[in-house]
Symmetry: C2
Subunit: 375 residues, 2 copies
């Protein structure tokens, strides 16, 4: 892990080299998590209480009596930088897709705990009022945002559109979304209490890179002679492939709830790639027997970064954007319902008693708890 | 309104000159509001519905049956730039106060609709992992965030701490907070349905500039020979005065609810200064007979910017950070309860039948609907 700022196309490229140093962020995260946990005691004064198991999960859950309340704020990350560069190269605006990506970051996390997303708030912080001068881009952002809300059946409540010169870089925009939902009936809560041996692991298809791993993707573009315009398949550039909008998974989880399928746990496969399958603290073995097809853009990235399977599956979603842990007898139905909702799905493996580990049999990979320190 | 980039100390300084061009933002806002309003139809499918009167208010409200759900996301704005500069000048970290400011932006907006804030989520987007290297500053942010949650009796659910090099400027941080609360009992809803002639206007004291008007404050600092270290009172620098944390008003609104005081409407006095008193769409005349004392830092700013009262009261809070519209017979008690909760308060005026206008009698000011186009 050296601090070189230039890498040749023959050198493997790690996530740290791509610019994110988790070692510096993590001590703050730990302090913040500790301080946050200490505030749960305020809820009983209002007659409510937190669901302690949701601490460390993707969304925070409070028991408000007749149902649970779930909430979250999520950031798009650096995918907008790819959209900006592609707009410069092609003249097209990619912000409708970017809007969907931003909502997906929030909604796909919120639904992991069993919530129906109800309200989304927009956080669009531009580097200056000038950002909004490009009316086509601004309209794409608005229309894409609304379209994603329509897909998720969520109300767009409002939001903030500050111009933050001096904080956000000129010509850039910092995009985030907050989302509030409810878990009703309360039996839909899926923070892992019922997760256990025998559960099937159903993987839902990703549309590509989604919105994680973009720092790496951007670094790779710098090493390509044609950059984002490199064709990774006939007629498909690297940039266009990267900008495929993130799949919204709430239509699947809502359809499953309507059909009475019980989700014991869910994992949104974002940063840390498949290591996210190890998210729950229980000591369980997750055995994957079938690996979904890898989207062309992720195959290309892994090749270009000289990643072996271990590194690729620890960093990128590799075709699986979301994992559902369901009772074995509901696995086949889960796949059918997901497909009917427009998202490809596979029964990929199962949960077993055993040490905490993820075994990806077709690739002979093993990840253990040491590979994922999220809490 | 010229586009000069330099202004001498003798020239008046308008908000537009200070760097925010609302004309560019507003068409996007209008398009976004229209698209957002069109998504309300998704809620009935979940068995719920929006409270239409909350569109255009500071927080969005959904009727979820036993109570209302309110949610919001809010940005700190550019106050962190003042904290950064003061840290450079004094070596001290101001981020505990900045944390309170950020939470206040969200909580003080959420409570306007009658909500009890329950959960806050942190959005801390740094210009790079390096931001977190300054452990003292990072700890101040964490501890200040927790302390503000403690004051508001709110649970800190979690949040996002992305490192966004290329989007957020190096060495800077983009701070925001989302907040979710409930309105219970439902009679606490204060979106203005009962606002009307005869209501008293109670103003709650601000602690200073709060977190609005900072672009102007920063421009003024550039014109001062001693900048932020200019003493505005013996022993109090301009920078320190600006960085007084925003007052958190939820302890007041919660105490009022406990005491059975009915709030007919509330206005969080932020951007647009006292014009926010005209926020509700009803045609009503708001007559102010008593003007609260002006904090030294705001008096100093108005002087330095060569603002007359009209411009000062249209831009800054001028000592009133929050307005409560209550039945006249509860006005005196409202003041008592606010003071008991640690926030100074005054019965400042009343609501009358008449054209939509704000009359500030002691200063002979009149603002009409044309002066405030927020919706």
């Amino acid at each position: 892990m050296t601090a070189t700022s230039h890498t040749s196309a023959d050198t493997p490229l790690s996530y740290e080299q791509a610019g994110v140093n988790y070692d510096l962020i993590d001590p703050l995260k730990v302090a913040a998590q500790r301080a946050a946990a200490a505030t749960a005691g305020h809820l009983p004064a209002h007659g409510f209480q937190e669901v302690p198991a949701s601490r460390g999960e993707s969304a925070y859950v409070v028991d408000v009596g007749p149902f649970y309340l779930a909430s979250i704020v999520e950031c798009l990350g650096s995918k907008a930088l790819v959209a900006d560069e592609m707009q410069r190269l092609t003249g097209r605006s990619y912000y409708a897709g970017i809007a969907q990506d931003t909502i997906a970051m929030a909604v796909n996390d919120l639904i992991t705990v069993g919530a129906t997303p109800l309200v989304v708030q927009a956080y669009w912080a531009a580097g200056g009022s000038e950002w909004f001068k490009d009316a086509e881009r601004a309209q794409a952002l608005v229309q894409g945002w609304k379209a994603a809300c329509d897909v998720c059946g969520v109300a767009w409540g409002g939001g903030e559109t500050p111009a933050l010169a001096g904080i956000v870089e000129a010509g850039r925009i910092d995009l985030a979304a907050s989302c509030t939902g409810i878990i009703s009936p309360k039996t839909r809560l899926s923070v892992g209490d019922d997760l256990g041996p025998g559960d099937a692991i159903v993987l839902l298809a990703s549309s590509g890179i989604h919105a994680n791993g973009l720092s790496l993707a951007r670094k790779l573009a710098e090493r390509l002679p044609d950059g984002y315009l490199t064709e990774i398949e006939p007629g498909l550039t690297y940039g266009d492939a990267l900008l495929a909008p993130t799949t919204l998974y709430s239509p699947v989880t809502e359809a499953l709830a309507s059909a009475g399928v019980k989700l014991n746990y869910c994992a949104n496969i974002t940063g840390h790639g498949w290591r996210k399958l190890l998210r729950h603290p229980k000591a369980l073995t997750y055995r994957i027997r079938n690996v979904p097809p890898v989207p062309a853009v992720l195959k290309f990235m892994a090749q270009q970064a000289r990643h072996d399977d271990r590194e690729a599956y620890s960093t990128l979603n590799m075709g699986a954007g979301f994992a559902l842990f369901v009772p074995a007898e509901q696995a086949a139905r889960t796949v059918e319902i997901a497909r009917a909702a427009g998202v490809d799905a596979w029964v990929a493996g199962s949960v077993e008693a055993g040490p905490k580990q993820l075994l990806v049999e077709p690739l002979s990979l093993r990840f253990s708890d040491d590979d994922l320190q999220l809490r």
